[in-house]
Symmetry: C2
């Protein structure tokens, strides 16, 4: 038999780590070599162990998944990273995937899917669950917000007025309104409140 697939886990919930570890160690062809509870530990442990696969939660303390992917791929561009998160429709997913994460899974995936995703990624084959693939296509069609618009959107989501947003971003109220208008158009929303709802659904913002 070949050597086992060495896996590092990163998730802030001990319960989830235990679950994955139990699931993985039960398999003959893979084993967990380390577990991290936050983003920084994840990076450290990756460098220490150089595992074949890293299973990564998107939402973590200290550094989120996106930052970890970025950093790890800087160190080792061939790293095989499997993203695992609770939410679909999350913009962060696409950031991770376009940055080079090899796979993406939802936490509510059945055991079998999780395991085959790990195997796929370990062989450098990309794995993306079909629901996510579908979302990706939808997303392509839709206009994306600029960085500045995301800044504004963030403040809009906090309930700030245009005037308030302008003050915080050191621009005029007129400019703030221009950005808000652009956001409304791109998100196909009638009011700022609806824009927030849509943006949240798409994972453009995290409340």
């Amino acid at each position: 038999m070949k050597t086992k697939i060495r896996v590092v886990l990163a998730d802030d919930h001990p319960v989830v780590r235990d679950g994955l570890a139990a699931m993985i160690n039960q398999q003959a062809d893979m084993e967990v070599v380390a577990e991290a509870g936050d983003g920084e530990a994840a990076i450290t442990l990756y460098e220490q162990h150089r595992p074949d696969v890293m299973v990564l939660d998107l939402r973590m303390p200290k550094r989120d998944g996106v930052a970890v992917v970025q950093r790890v791929l800087e160190v080792n561009p061939k790293a095989c990273i499997l993203i695992m998160t609770t939410y679909d429709g999350d913009e962060d997913i696409f950031q991770c995937l376009s940055q080079g994460a090899k796979g993406y899974l939802l936490k509510d995936a059945p055991r079998q899917e999780i395991l085959s995703a790990i195997r796929a990624v370990s062989e450098d084959r990309p794995y993306t669950s079909s629901t996510v693939a579908a979302k990706a296509l939808q997303r392509m069609a839709k206009p994306s917000l600029t960085q500045r618009e995301l800044d504004v959107l963030q403040l809009v989501a906090q309930g700030r007025s245009n005037k308030d947003i302008a003050r915080r971003l050191s621009i005029t109220e007129g400019t703030a309104k221009t950005h808000v208008k652009a956001i409304l158009t791109k998100l196909d929303a009638i009011s700022r409140t609806e824009a927030v709802a849509v943006a949240h659904r798409r994972g453009l913002i995290h409340l």
Copy 2:
């Protein structure tokens, strides 16, 4: 040795169920007798197995935690239910606790806390993690929304205009505005968008 504490798990993530099951079955004094992936199964399995403790996720398909708590306590008012969820600041928690759930935990709790919570609940002692207890006290001080206001809030959160809200609830626009005003006052928000942000933070609404 006494008979083991018999536990039923209910969570929609296979990974989490595995993690809890592994953690629990490793203990000498407890065992998992059944696992449910949604609310309906949870109810069925409870009635079938009559476990000493039921560990319940708040967010589940088909029936959410609140409904399950209600139903199970109807059948057996002495049922020991431990709520376990990802989010704090969630209004549902208080509904569950006031309906008779015996304990509440966050999913990011360490192993030891989870296990001792199960033991406490199995002996009919209430268990509430300190962070939640603190929130409960804060909540007491704050004004609560009426049912009608929650209805309106739900629509506000979807980005509906006052006129739209009025139409959907079969009331006049003026009345809708009255409700929105009350919401703004109670949530201490300046604009409807801020109200949505606050309400979401407090778990009054789920987007």
